[in-house]
């Protein structure tokens, strides 16, 4: 039986992949949350004459082309990248669960309309759709989160719809209908909670995708706008000094890689625990 009873904490702790993913995410999150405490400089403090210094005791990750401390920028950038990842996935989950639940429960033409709309959305190459939207709207962090969320809910809608199609034929739903429970309450109380397991897995994996997407957008210069640091636009700055300052590309690249790896490991682990369990 699929279930979310995370009272199976023991099972989770015995799953090495999931635990290592969780630890990576925890470390990165602590790094991001404690940014003001651990960073020795302000992220946009410019030290004149100290540009492109290699990592040293004074600047742990070196400085960039304007003489800003890279470690401080990385710490503040982590906040932006993680928040964008989490919030945009939340938006995607809310939207996906809403449309998926309605399509699955009401079926027939409602289902048809919503699922064809999903098919249309899936036809767009994601990044170009976002490019077009961001070009129309002013790129700021909120727009970025909404746009990423609004272009990645389709997979979740499909998952939820499929789950609900099978759940709504179950006897406990019939019993609720026989008691006169309203459609809305049946969806909220009975169907959605029972359909959440695959959504949680897909959302965890989705955070990794969203962080990558934000980084690529910022790298292209249409994501988070400087001087606000994000891992993506630190990489963009590194483009200018690619041959001479290896630290400028290594650290943000590694940070993105490790974070994405962490979410993917956790997601795969949760999949094992929640979906493939007998």
């Amino acid at each position: 039986m699929k279930g979310l009873h995370l009272c199976n904490m023991k099972k989770f702790l015995n799953h090495r992949l999931a635990v290592s993913g969780a630890i990576i995410i925890l470390v990165i999150s602590v790094f991001a949350i404690s940014a003001p405490l651990i960073s020795p400089y302000q992220p946009d403090d410019i030290a004149i004459g100290q540009y492109l210094l290699a990592p040293s005791a004074k600047h742990w990750m070196g400085t960039d082309i304007l003489g800003r401390d890279l470690f401080s920028r990385m710490a503040y950038g982590a906040r932006i990248s993680l928040i964008v990842g989490l919030v945009s996935v939340c938006i995607a989950v809310i939207q996906g669960v809403f449309f998926g639940a309605i399509a699955g429960y009401y079926g027939k033409s409602v289902d048809n309309i919503i699922m064809r709309f999903v098919d249309i959305m899936l036809c767009f190459p994601n990044i170009f759709l976002i490019l077009a939207l961001v070009a129309l709207l002013e790129p700021n962090i909120i727009i970025i989160m909404v746009v990423i969320g609004a272009t990645s809910w389709m997979g979740i809608a499909r998952l939820v719809r499929a789950e609900i199609l099978s759940l709504k034929e179950r006897d406990f739903v019939k019993a609720a209908r026989a008691c006169g429970v309203s459609d809305f309450k049946i969806i909220i109380r009975h169907l959605v909670p029972n359909a959440m397991a695959p959504v949680i897995v897909s959302a965890t994996l989705g955070v990794a995708g969203a962080i990558l997407l934000e980084s690529s957008l910022s790298f292209l210069g249409i994501g988070v706008q400087p001087p606000t640091p994000s891992w993506g636009n630190i990489l963009m700055d590194a483009k200018l000094s690619l041959g001479i300052a290896w630290w400028m590309t290594l650290f943000p690249g590694a940070a993105i890689f490790i974070t994405v790896l962490g979410y993917n490991l956790l997601g795969e682990g949760l999949r094992d625990l929640l979906l493939l369990r007998k």
Partner: protein, 322 residues
């Protein structure tokens, strides 16, 4: 007066053979069923798997709409009533399902499961918990079960929770859709005794759907025999069991496993041919039981026999009695 009357209920399902064909036939899951359930009595409905018993239960609860026919509850026609207006009546007709593992939501605690119908009929919040405690005691479970989740209960305990939920709104008609079939014998006996006790206490009317014939004989006042969506015989329990008229009823009763019978005449026991094709061929207008009948007559092939009264309240649908 009968509390529940079914008049000529038919439910057809269309089916497609392939993606590209528009329409390729229909299945009559329930075909012209007429039944009456007296207040405080039990009507047993027997028949093999897939003969339309559960479809009939769903129609009574207005979970699906019949293609044609009428259901009268307490003299009021309910199939045409809109959902909104029907909601107050819903509390009076409740159902207990066969599979206790799929009839309870895994995410809710027992107290929330039992409280759900009460919340749906807008009972005051402070009274709900009291009523839930009363119900759980009635079905013979301790108060400590209220905070458990369904996965912490055994099959029998789950079924009791299902019964408690069905009783919550003090219904007048309870549809027991194979409510004890999936339980072991000792638990079955407990649940049956519980149901009989509740019936005496609250003057409940049961529609008892089952395929265990000896159990049906034990609990029912009247029995209806269903085959391929059609009621072939109905009447008072004793009459049906002592003096079965229709060949299908005889066959069913014959197939009750019994020690003496199995020694005596194992060989000449007539076995039914497994045939799940239902009424696919539309050209065949004859008796649905024709292919399996031990004594088919020429007229059986042309026409479906109507229900005929052969004893007091004893109806049968067979040309042998025309």
């Amino acid at each position: 007066m009968a509390i529940l009357t079914l008049k000529d209920i038919t439910k057809k399902y269309l089916f497609k053979n392939s993606f590209f064909s528009f329409y390729s036939g229909e299945i009559k899951a329930v075909d012209g069923v007429c039944l009456e359930l007296e207040e405080g009595k039990t009507l047993g409905l027997v028949g093999e798997s897939g003969c339309g018993k559960s479809t009939l239960a769903n129609i009574i609860l207005k979970l699906i709409e019949p293609t044609t026919g009428e259901v009268f509850f307490n003299g009021k026609e309910i199939t045409q009533v809109r959902e909104k207006e029907f909601r107050p009546l819903r509390r009076q007709i409740q159902i207990v399902f066969q599979d206790p593992y799929s009839s309870l939501s895994l995410r809710l605690r027992v107290k929330d499961i039992i409280a759900e119908p009460l919340e749906a009929c807008l009972m005051e919040k402070n009274k709900i918990l009291e009523r839930v405690k009363e119900l759980i005691a009635q079905v013979g479970l301790g108060q400590e079960y209220l905070v458990r989740f369904p996965h912490q209960l055994s099959g029998g305990q789950r079924q009791r929770v299902g019964i408690a939920r069905a009783l919550a709104t003090s219904p007048r008609v309870l549809v027991l859709d194979e409510a004890v079939s999936s339980l072991d014998l000792s638990t079955q006996a407990q649940i049956i005794n519980l149901l009989i006790r509740l019936q005496e206490q609250y003057k409940l009317s049961y529609l008892f759907i089952a395929h265990d014939l000896s159990l049906v004989r034990f609990v029912s006042d009247t029995v209806a025999v269903m085959y391929k969506g059609i009621i072939f015989e109905k009447g008072p329990t004793e009459m049906i069991y002592d003096n079965p008229a229709h060949p299908y009823t005889k066959l069913l009763l014959n197939s009750i496993p019994s020690f003496e019978k199995s020694l005596k005449n194992r060989k000449d026991r007539y076995m039914i041919k497994q045939d799940f094709s239902l009424n696919k061929s539309e050209k065949f207008f004859g008796c649905s039981f024709y292919q399996n009948c031990p004594k088919p007559m020429p007229c059986c092939e042309k026409q479906m026999p109507g229900l005929k009264e052969i004893g007091k309240n004893h109806f049968v649908s067979c040309f042998c009695y025309e």
